[in-house]
Subunit: 159 residues, 2 copies
């Protein structure tokens, strides 16, 4: 190996090392961004997660609620993660798809809580027309840095 | 004035005095009832007051909000009582009438706060069809024993 090849190899090594370093910096930046995500983006991420779980595996919603959580579903009040999921999984339809139209978000003013207001369409399998719905969530941060649903109110908007 | 008239007057006086006392007791009872009103009745009373004020004298809503209050009106975020009322009074219609269809209420889990979720119809003067709307309020108790609106999200439900 002559000196020129050695230099070329050294240059290549330094170049690749620099790329790796940059990638690591970018990853670190992304993680940081997630932690300091703006409330609207956070609300949108929650809403996407909530409805995709609802539409694919309703029982999976259980870990979004806690014992103190309340759901008011079409006027019926239900308390506690277990009762809430029992209600949601026993709704008289199997397959459904939520289409989100609007998401509004505000800090609830206490303990880093967040209010999320959603409007959208609910398409039930085998039904011709989608149903319009409005739903609000009060999200409270957990010590683990995530959020749980403390309040949930769901209403169909009859035409 | 003979003794019989005197006795009659005395009796009449005691009788009227007793009626007044009973009325005062009733008033006291009513006030007590208001303070210990169940959340659903309180939410209903707030909603009735809010929309009747909106429909008769929109500027009068100012004292229901505070500086930290937020309104999201059809996606537009507005903060502070003054800005919120400026927005509401500048809406492009003069006369309107809200008809309330559903009121759902939950304790917000902090500081005696209350979440109120409303659906209803909004009839604008001169318009044929009423508009459907959904609105949510986060009410926070004041030291004076009343409530103010900390969060307010309004959305029309387009058909």
């Amino acid at each position: 190996m002559n000196q020129a090849t050695l230099l070329l190899l050294l240059f290549l090594f330094l170049f690749l090392f620099r790329i790796k370093e940059e990638e690591e910096e970018e990853e670190e930046e992304e993680k940081k961004e997630e932690r300091t995500m703006d409330p609207d983006a956070l609300a949108k991420a929650f809403v996407d997660h909530y409805y995709s779980t609802f539409d694919s595996n309703r029982a999976g919603l259980a870990n979004l609620y806690q014992d103190a959580s309340m759901l008011t579903f079409e006027g019926q009040k239900i308390q506690g993660a277990q009762n809430i999921v029992a209600k949601l999984t026993s709704l008289p339809f199997q397959q459904c798809q939520h289409q989100i139209v609007t998401v509004d978000c505000q800090p609830s003013g206490v303990n880093g809580g967040m209010l999320v207001f959603v409007s959208g369409n609910l398409q039930l399998a085998g039904e011709h027309h989608a149903l319009k719905f409005s739903q609000m969530f009060h999200l409270i941060p957990t010590p683990q840095g995530s959020y749980y649903v403390n309040n949930d109110v769901f209403r169909l908007n009859y035409a």
